[in-house]
Amino acid sequence: MQDTCYETAIIGSSALGLGCLLSRPENSILIEASASICPEWSQSFYPGTDWDTWDTCDNLQPTAAALLAELRQRQVLTGHGLQVSALAAQCFKALRDSTANYRFLSVVTAVEDAGDCYSIHILNAGGHQQLRARQIIDTTDEAVTLPQQAVSVQSRAVGMQLQIGGEPMAATAVTDAYHLHPGAFASEATLQYHVAPDTDWITARRQLHDFWINRPSELRAWNCVSVATRFSQRVTALGSIKENWHHLPGCNTANAIQAFNQGICAAQSMEVLA
C-alpha cells in the first residue's frame, strides 16, 4: 500500500467525496472511518432541502443528473421527500459497480508532507498503515486530516426516523426545538432536534430522549424507529489547508445531489491543477 502514490486521496465517504471519487476512480482512493456511505445524510437522517430546483440547474453534471434520475425512478426520492437509507444503498451499489479504490473502516491518524506528495497515516483492522497521495480532499465535517479539532460547528441537530402509527398526516413543522421533514412516503418523517453546536453525543442523546418522552401533542402519533448515529450539522469549511490539501465538508450543501455534483466539479478543477 505504501508504494502506491495516488493522485488524490479523498477523505470521508460523503456524497461530495463519492462524487469526487467516481469522477476519477482509477487514480484516487477514498478513506472512510466508518462502514457508512453518505453518512452526513444516511446516518444523520437529514434529508436535505431544495430537491425540486435541480432539474433547471445549469451546473448539473451528467453523472449527478443520472443519479438524480435513478433516485427518482426507484422512489428513493419522491414528491414527498427522500429515503435516506435507500440513498445509501444506491450509493454503495454505485461504488461496488465502479473501479474505484476505497478503504472503509480506516481512521486517519496523521498527514505528513513528504515533499512531492502527502503521506497519510491510517489505522484499521490491520493496525497502522501509510499511503501516499499528491492531493488531499478532506470532505469530513471535522477535517480529520488535521491533528486537532480545527473546525467550528455552526449548527448541530440529532435526527430521528419516524413512522406514523395511524393514518398519515402532514409531516412538516418547524419550531425552535425541532424541524420535522416529510419522508419519501406519507407514513414517514424525519425529525431534526436542534442542540447547541458544541453538544457531545452523551448530552445530545439525553436531550433528545427527554424531548421525545415529553414530546408535544403534534408528534404523539409518530413512532421513533431509529435515532441518528451522526449529527446533521453545518461547519466552517477550512478551504485550502496547504498546497493541494483542501477541506470541503460535504455537510454544508443543501442536499446529497448538490454535494455529489460539487464533488464532481471539485474533481474536475483538481484535474486542472494536476
Binding site: A89, W212, S226
Partner: protein, 607 residues
Amino acid sequence: MKRHAMIDKAVECDSGVWSFDQACDVLVLGLGTAGAIAAIAAGRQGMRVIGVEALTHMGGIGTGGGIHHYHWGTTGGLQDEVDQRCQDLHAQYCSVDPDDFHPDVKKYVLEDLALEAGAALLYGSVISAVFVADQCVRGVEIMTPQGMTRIETRFVIDASGDAHAAAMAGCAARFGRESDDYPQPFSFVRGEQRANGALHGKNFDAGYVDPRDPADMSRATVFANAMHAQEQYTEKDPIHYIAPQMGLREGRFIIGEDTVTFADVINERRRDDLVMQTWSHHDNHCSDWAFESDASQDWAVVADLFRRGQVTDIPPGIFIPKNWDGILIAGRCVSLDHDSHQGIRMQRDMQKFGEICATMAAQAIAADVPAKDLPIEPLQQALMHSGCLPAPEERLQPLPWLTDKQQIKAVLAEQSAGEAIWACRRLGENIREDLWQWAQSSELNVRRHAAYALGLLRDERVVPILEDIVATNETEMPMTHNYERRQHRYAAVYLLGVFAQASSIPALIETLRMVEDNAVSASQLLMALLRIADANAEHRATVLEQLRACFSVQCTHTMTIWNNKAFPKEMHQYFRITIKRFADSWGLSWDLDLQPLDRREALMLKS
C-alpha cells in the same frame, strides 16, 4: 515497558520510557454487547472505568449492528436490569416483538447506567497501541477525535470483538475452520417494520470476510451494503436504517488459560469452576458443511441436531489470555474453537461475559493477584449474588437423552430420528449389535438411521449399506440449485468419506455426475471422494481423472447462504482449488483453470 503496535498486520515493539496522560483501574475496549455491561459492572464495583468505543453509542451488534433480538442465551445478572429498563421505555419509542428490544432505547439505557456507575466514555475512539511489561498489559494508546491519548490501567477488558488489544500485545490466537481458515459468514442488517408495526432488523448473510484484514473488511462493507439496493423502494417495505456496524459472527479466538471445545459441548462436560452457563443450538451459518469438522458434521449432518439446545459450563480461564496478566477477553473472541463458538456467541451470554470480566478484574485488583490466580469461590459467590451464575439447584441441566433401546428403535423408525441416532452414539458398545441387527431391517427409516448411528460409532460393517443409500439416492439429494439447508440427507455421503474405503468410489462418482449445479451436494460428494483417495494412494490418479471430468466443463455450482437468495455464492472455483490442494499434497498434477473468485479462495490457492 514496551509499546506494542500493529503495523501492516504484524506486531512491532518499541522500547522506551513512556508517560501516560490519564489512569484508570479498568479500561474497557469496545462498548458493544459484552463491553457495555463490563463498563457498567466494573463501575458499580468501585473501579475507575474508561470505556473506549469506535462508534457514537454503546451496545454493539444489538444496537449499531441492528440485531435487536435475543436469540437463545441465558438471562440473569446485570443484563436483566438493562432489559427491564428498556421494556419500560419501549412504548414511548416504537413497539417491538417479545425477545426484541429497541436499539436506540438500549443505547440510551446502557449509557445512562454506565454514567451512573461513574464510567468515562470515549466515543469515536480506537486503539492505537498497548504498553506491556513482563507479560502484563499496563496501558493503552487511544486515538480519539481530540487526538492521541495514553491511558495507564490495571486491567484492559478487551471487548473489541476481534481482540485488537490482545493481538497487539501478542497474545496467541486461533482463527477460522480447519479446512480453509475462514470464519462464519457475516451479515449487514437493515431496519424494517413487521406487519404488526414492530421494529425488526432484517438479517441475512452477506458473504465471508476476514476481520483481521483491512482490505477484505472494506470490500465486504461495500459489497454487503450494496445488497440493500432494490429495484424499487415502496411505502410497504421501507428501509428505516442501514446498520452502521457490520454483523461479524466470528473472528480471532484468543488462546486462554482454559478452552471450551466442541467436545466439551457435545459431551456435556460439567465443571466445578463454572462462572456461568450458556444455552444455544449449534448455530453454524455455513451452508458448505462438507468443509466443517467431523465433530460438527457428526452432530449436525449425521444426527441432524442443528437445532438441539446445548448447555455449556463456562470456566473463568477462557477470559484470561494464556500466560498474560492485565488483560481479560470479553465477547466472541474468548478461548473457544470454531465449532464450540457456534453456540457460545449469543447476545445474552456475551453480556454475561462482560459482567464476569468486570468482576474478575475488580477481585484481582482488590486481592492484588493475577486474574488466573483468583480463587474460584469468591468469584462464584459474587456472580451468584448478581444472578449471572444461577445457584447450584437452579442451574440448567442438559436436555435428557433416550436410553431405552425399544424407545430408541421406535424413534429410529420415524422420519426425524436425530435424538435416537445421537443417543446410540452415547450408548456405544451397549447398543452396537442391536444397531447392526436393525440395519438389516426392511423398514427404510430403521435401516438407514441405524446405519447412521453405526457410522457415528465408526463401525465399518455399515459401509455397503451407506453405499447403497448413496447409489440409489435414497435421501433425495438435490441435483439442481435450491435453497435446501437440510444437511441430514448428506449423512451417508459424509460417512463414506470418513470410512474412506475404495469400494465407495463408484457410487460417489456416479452420483456426482448427476449433480447439475447444486454446490452443497457437489461439495459433500467431492470431499468424500478426496478423503477416500487420500487414504488409498493407489486410487488417487483415478479419482482425480474422474473429478477432472466432472469439473472440467463450464460448470457452475451455486450455493445460497442464509436468508440471501438474491446473491448466491458460486463455488466451482472453490472446488477446483480444493482438489488442487489435495493433488499437490499427493504430488499429482491438477491442470484445470484456477481463478479465485474472492480472497478466501486466493489464500487457499496460495497455501
